[in-house]
């Protein structure tokens, strides 16, 4: 085994929650309202439902191979050659998606808070942190994340509590003005974020109780869905759908309105706190998956030596993949959903599951491991 540590069900759930939520909370209100208008909250619900369907699919696959990661069992299912190709594909998917996330991270900080600081500073900082985190293994990351989750969620709840009096329900009316289609369209991009649950396949063998895998994926999606719903309701009810879709980062504009007796105000810097903390977890999990998949692809005995070189690679990619923020948003909202959902998030896992069923590979029931 490459990884000696084990993480509990709760740690895995929270790890998945922050992995999905960290970026979604910032972008979802705006991306969903562009398509769905005042029905963006329905989009959030639909996306959550889609996410649960995806997690049923991928966890069913994972449960057949509780001791292996997707890199390893794709070889079992498809044979050595095709399996390696799929593995290489996943390696690329993790690396590429991670580069996109790092770019989003840096772009947000430059655009919203520090316009004069070069992008590469933020990008390399977050990767250095991620490299340090994963070199100490999955277990410390899981434990650290429990604290980060408390920080993250309490700040979000704090925002909502102080914004309740600004919300106006009439901004949600009329419901389903143009039918259900806009709401469905608005759900496509968020669904691809929920599809990031495929990362669970890289840490699934290291769960203490793999038989409770469904709980991890579905629990994570429900928590993420709840926070996203609150986020959408908050921004749309305060600003109205037209204005929210004009914003790049609606959460900043909403938090700027918080004013408690002209005393507690201008607290939008807290957004930077949740953004840096959340993206740190997200990038760490993605980098862990990248490094782990590379190590397993080449049958290495340790994944740690790969952390730094791949970290450098991902920073370079994050800088050079996109020209500017227009490219990035275009890719994220148009290309990425189709690309990710059709292949690595749903397409390939579904294919693997079907072939595994036909060829009778993997265990039907997860054995109860007692002494691990």
């Amino acid at each position: 085994m490459l990884e000696q540590g084990k993480i509990s069900i709760r740690q895995a759930t929270l790890l998945m929650v922050l992995t999905i939520l960290a970026t979604a909370i910032l972008f979802l209100p705006s991306i969903a309202t562009v398509q769905a208008g005042q029905e963006a909250w329905i989009s959030a619900l639909i996306a959550t439902a889609n996410g649960i369907i995806i997690s049923l699919l991928v966890v069913t696959l994972m449960r057949r191979f509780p001791e292996q990661t997707i890199i390893q069992y794709s070889e079992d299912i498809l044979g050595k050659f095709l399996g390696k190709i799929v593995g290489l594909g996943y390696f690329w998917f993790f690396l590429h998606t991670n580069a996109i996330i790092i770019r989003e991270f840096g772009d947000f900080l430059v655009a919203a808070f520090m316009p004069k600081t070069p992008l590469i500073v933020f990008n390399s900082m977050i990767v250095i942190l991620a490299v340090l985190a994963i070199r100490s293994g999955l277990e410390p990351l899981g434990r650290l994340n429990e604290w980060i989750f408390i920080l993250f969620s309490s700040i979000l709840i704090f925002f909502t509590v102080f914004l309740i009096h600004e919300m106006q329900v009439e901004n949600f009316l009329p419901v389903l003005e143009r039918g259900i289609v806009p709401a469905l369209k608005g759900a496509v991009t968020p669904t691809s974020w929920f599809g990031e649950i495929i990362l669970l396949s890289m840490i699934f063998p290291f769960l203490t109780q793999p038989q409770r895998g469904y709980r991890v994926a579905i629990g994570a999606h429900l928590i993420v869905g709840a926070f996203l719903l609150i986020g959408v309701v908050q921004s749309v009810s305060i600003f109205g759908p037209e204005l929210v879709s004009a914003f790049k980062f609606p959460i900043i504009q909403t938090v700027r309105l918080i004013s408690l007796g002209e005393f507690l105000e201008r607290i939008e810097v807290l957004i930077m706190v949740i953004w840096v903390a959340g993206v740190f977890v997200k990038v760490s999990v993605f980098h862990y998956a990248t490094v782990m998949s590379a190590a397993q692809l080449f049958n290495l005995t340790d994944y740690r030596p790969l952390a730094i070189p791949l970290g450098i690679l991902v920073v370079i990619l994050s800088i050079h993949l996109f020209q500017g923020v227009v490219d990035l948003v275009e890719f994220l909202s148009v290309t990425f959903p189709v690309y990710a959902l059709s292949t690595f998030e749903v397409g390939i896992p579904a294919l693997l599951l079907v072939i595994a069923l036909i060829r009778g590979k993997g265990a039907k029931n997860v054995p109860n491991k007692k002494n691990n």
């Binding site: 500073v121 009316l173 204005l243 004009a246 504009q253 309105l257």
Partner: protein, 407 residues
Amino acid sequence: MCQIKKIIKNILTGAIIVFLLLNVGCWDLNEVEDITLMIATGFDFQPEEELISYTSHLIRPAGLAGEEEGGGAPGVGPVWISTSTGKNIFEASLNLAARSSRVLFEAHTRIIVVGEELARQRVNELVDFLIRRREQRLNSWILVAREGTAAEVLQAETELEDTVSQEIEGILDNQQRLSTAPRVQVREFVSSLIQPGKDSFVPVLEVREEIQPPEEDLLAAQPEGETKKYIVLQGTAVFSGDKLAGYLTVPETKGLLWVQGEVGRAVIIPEKPDGGQVTVFISRARSSLEPKFKEDKLKIKIEIETEGDIGSSNIREDISDPLVIEKLESKLANNIKQEVLLAFDKSQEYQSDFLHLGAAFRREDPQKWAKVKENWRQNLSEVEVEVRVITELRRTGLTTDPVIREE
């Protein structure tokens, strides 16, 4: 193997330490000595030269510092009222750098004054500036300078406060007990500008002149009859799309505020036949719109519920008599109704849906709304409006009867 690892680890640690040492502090450092806080901005458009002028109140550090010992440096006010011009708003704001020794910091702007010409011609540019700029906050107050420029407003003299911007903010707060003007934040302005079936409205600032009475103090040696410019917040500017359509008078403004349910403390005076008056303080107001699509007809029922207290009275009738109170209530209701109808008439005249009736129709039935929304502003004139007002006088102050009774 182990040794190599150790060496790598040491090198990495060393590299990080060096890296951190070289990056002490923050790239986007803005020392407070190098910035100047902007507390109010005025935007003007000069159509002849096609120029935007950008007037701002910048806090003058010296002006504030010595306040306790009697007003800082002599002859220097607490703010510098600076003006710069440019081909567009952003350029105008940048051009100030040629005169300002400090970097402009816009995040403390509380007041945004829009000159009349800009409100007529360049609102789209203003909205873009306010939303795109990182430092601009959407909860600052927006106002229109009527028949004048924003620069004139910001250069007016103050009465109680140190700066005009503080004074405007105070007046915005204080006039709510009069309800002579609405209070509009930038975000409300922009969102009603872009929502279907809504038009924006903004409070109006006017600069007035008054002849200063000659000073008693001979030492002051002030020339007799010097004029003093001061600001008044009164009325509403309404937009049709992104263009200023016209102005509402005070009664029309009150009508608008009734429909918005925002009348805090309007003072209404129902006149009695014998010339007596009763003043009512409104303590609560609520409104609801009930649109109806009849075949070929659009009908809307505006329902307003208010509660009020009697603030003053010089009628000789007995206020403790429920019948008198009832009569007063119906007078008050009629009064409110008239104001709402006045506002609605202006809405049709200016083709500006500042009462947000279209949005109510849209909420009621989006399919039927889709048929009328094309020329909604023209269709406004075909809307039939019915106003129902329910008033309740709850309290009569600390006395009930007229103190001086009829003989």
